[in-house]
Symmetry: C2
Subunit: 322 residues, 2 copies
């Protein structure tokens, strides 16, 4: 992209984040743009290593993502799952026939000693993705959802099996204290050419927080003093996709971009330098700015590819000059 | 079946053997009939534990086997394999989308400490198979194919990847000396009610020999002195399916039922007591009987289910009275 004076790093969860990552990838050369994907929702299912957010980012950048259902691959079929159910296997996690190839190959390579970063690079290249996608860590980190009944649920059990029905009271990230950011992540943060970090419109609690909770990540960002802009995943009081708004209500905070901005400000030790929210929330702009955070409103609801690219450019234009 | 005075044990490889096993299953109650499946062609592919002969027997008895291609499941789709190839995975072994459920569930259960026998029982019951199917062993035994170039090939590499093209000079079964027959196998051989052992029309070298090479199997059979009848997999100089005839030619023996009978007689220490060959080979009946082996001719080419049942009854009627 003409006019971007350096490199951009994006932090993404699944679907919503991947949309903006795709817009950024269209606007930027591969040497300019890296995506860090949350892996705290990774889990092992029937012995297969599954990385839902990482795969959503990879499929989205490869142009393979399923536009209808919002996850998995286009042209997917479900014969494996049908046969699995017949055999008495657990079929609550919807593994498509094509998607399975990713999980089987990844599990096989990890079992032979490859790292998740190495596997991700190999699979991404095979799918023609030229922008680097990094898992946040090669170490296992697992989001655990605390619920009002006192039960602690593995994330995918909460998210998919139980359809986000349990009332959440908090989260922790099992393994985070001893996890190391993936090779290249801290180096990208320390890169003199890094001009902007973009927090994509993903779930603050379960998609974004794990990444910034990794030891060393915030330290590097604060040391460099690089601009960091977040795009609100909450629009008009709702999450475009996923349980973010429901979680906010259960955690006792209004489901507004203001709450998202405050969450990042409080949690990320002042590293956040700008905020992007949707036109629909223009009436809340003053409330965000009152937090001491520069903010803009624009269209953040990404329906078309052009929407994604336009938002990417708006975020960069705003963020880099902060 | 009225008139069968005891229990029947069948030893089977893949497709041809499974056809006769299905005929026997139709003729006999579950308490009367057990199938032992070869597992020396089992292998690990992309981290999945694959048991081709065992699955062919299971799918056949479940009524799920693919009649067109001769292996795998009916109504199979291949989207996984297509996606795997795109990701750079090895796609020479044709894993169907439905078939994958078996391999994934089995691999998962084995990884959690279940035995192959336990997994087979669980999957068989889920598919409605009431006759017991036992793997020959819960231990890993691997057929290695010796070739004229001196190269030794894992069986599925020879059989599927290299399409049986290399010239064979012999075989060995890696792990056989320390393998134990699966729970129930020796017990079935020692059962006072055992009336007949049937060697199904499977490849003598790579499907049947591994089973009888397991420590203790022939000892038990010889000690009990139970009748044992083999059905020739060679008909009119050809194998109905697979490389048996080609192997025989390469090993320097005529591709005839006589060679099959001699192979079992020489190899199984006199345990074979009867031989069944096809009508087409009636002219060779005297040659088989000249080996000191009682033999009959009948139709062994099983096209219809009735063919399978008719052959099963003929084999039992002949064998039990030996």
């Amino acid at each position: 992209m003409t006019g971007v004076p350096g490199k951009i790093l994006a932090v993404s969860g699944g679907v919503g984040g991947a949309k903006l990552a795709l817009g950024l990838a269209h606007a930027l050369d591969p040497v300019q743009f890296t995506v860090i994907a949350n892996t705290a929702d990774d889990f092992v299912h029937h012995g297969l290593q599954i990385s839902p957010d990482l795969d959503t980012v990879m499929y989205t950048l490869a142009g393979l993502s399923n536009q209808q259902v919002g996850w998995g691959q286009e042209g997917e079929s479900w014969n494996f799952l049908d046969a699995l159910a017949r055999l008495g296997g657990q079929d609550w996690f919807r593994l498509g026939d094509r998607d399975l190839a990713t999980h089987i190959l990844r599990s096989d390579l990890l079992g032979r000693g490859a790292t998740l970063s190495e596997v991700t690079r190999k699979l991404s290249l095979a799918l023609g993705v030229s922008h680097p996608i990094l898992p946040m860590s090669d170490d296992r980190v697992s989001t655990i959802v605390h619920t009002a009944t006192g039960e602690e649920l593995a994330f995918q059990h909460y998210f998919v099996r139980d359809r986000c029905e349990p009332e959440v009271t908090g989260f922790h990230f099992d393994g985070i204290d001893t996890a190391t950011p993936a090779p290249g992540f801290l180096e990208a943060l320390a890169d003199d050419d890094l001009a902007l970090i973009v927090i994509c419109p993903s779930n603050p609690f379960v998609s974004v927080d794990p990444v910034f909770s990794l030891p060393g990540v915030l330290d590097h960002i604060i040391a460099r003093g690089v601009p960091m802009v977040a795009v609100s995943p909450i629009v008009g009081g709702l999450a475009i996709k996923g349980p973010a708004a429901k979680m906010m209500a259960e955690l006792g905070m209004p489901s507004t971009p203001v709450s998202v901005a405050r969450h990042y400000l409080d949690g990320y030790r002042g590293a956040l330098t700008g905020f992007v929210m949707d036109d629909q929330d223009r009436h809340l702009l003053n409330d965000v700015e009152a937090l001491g955070l520069p903010a803009i409103v624009t269209n953040t609801v990404m329906i078309t590819l052009q929407d994604r690219i336009t938002l990417a450019k708006a975020v960069m234009g705003f963020g880099i000059n902060l």
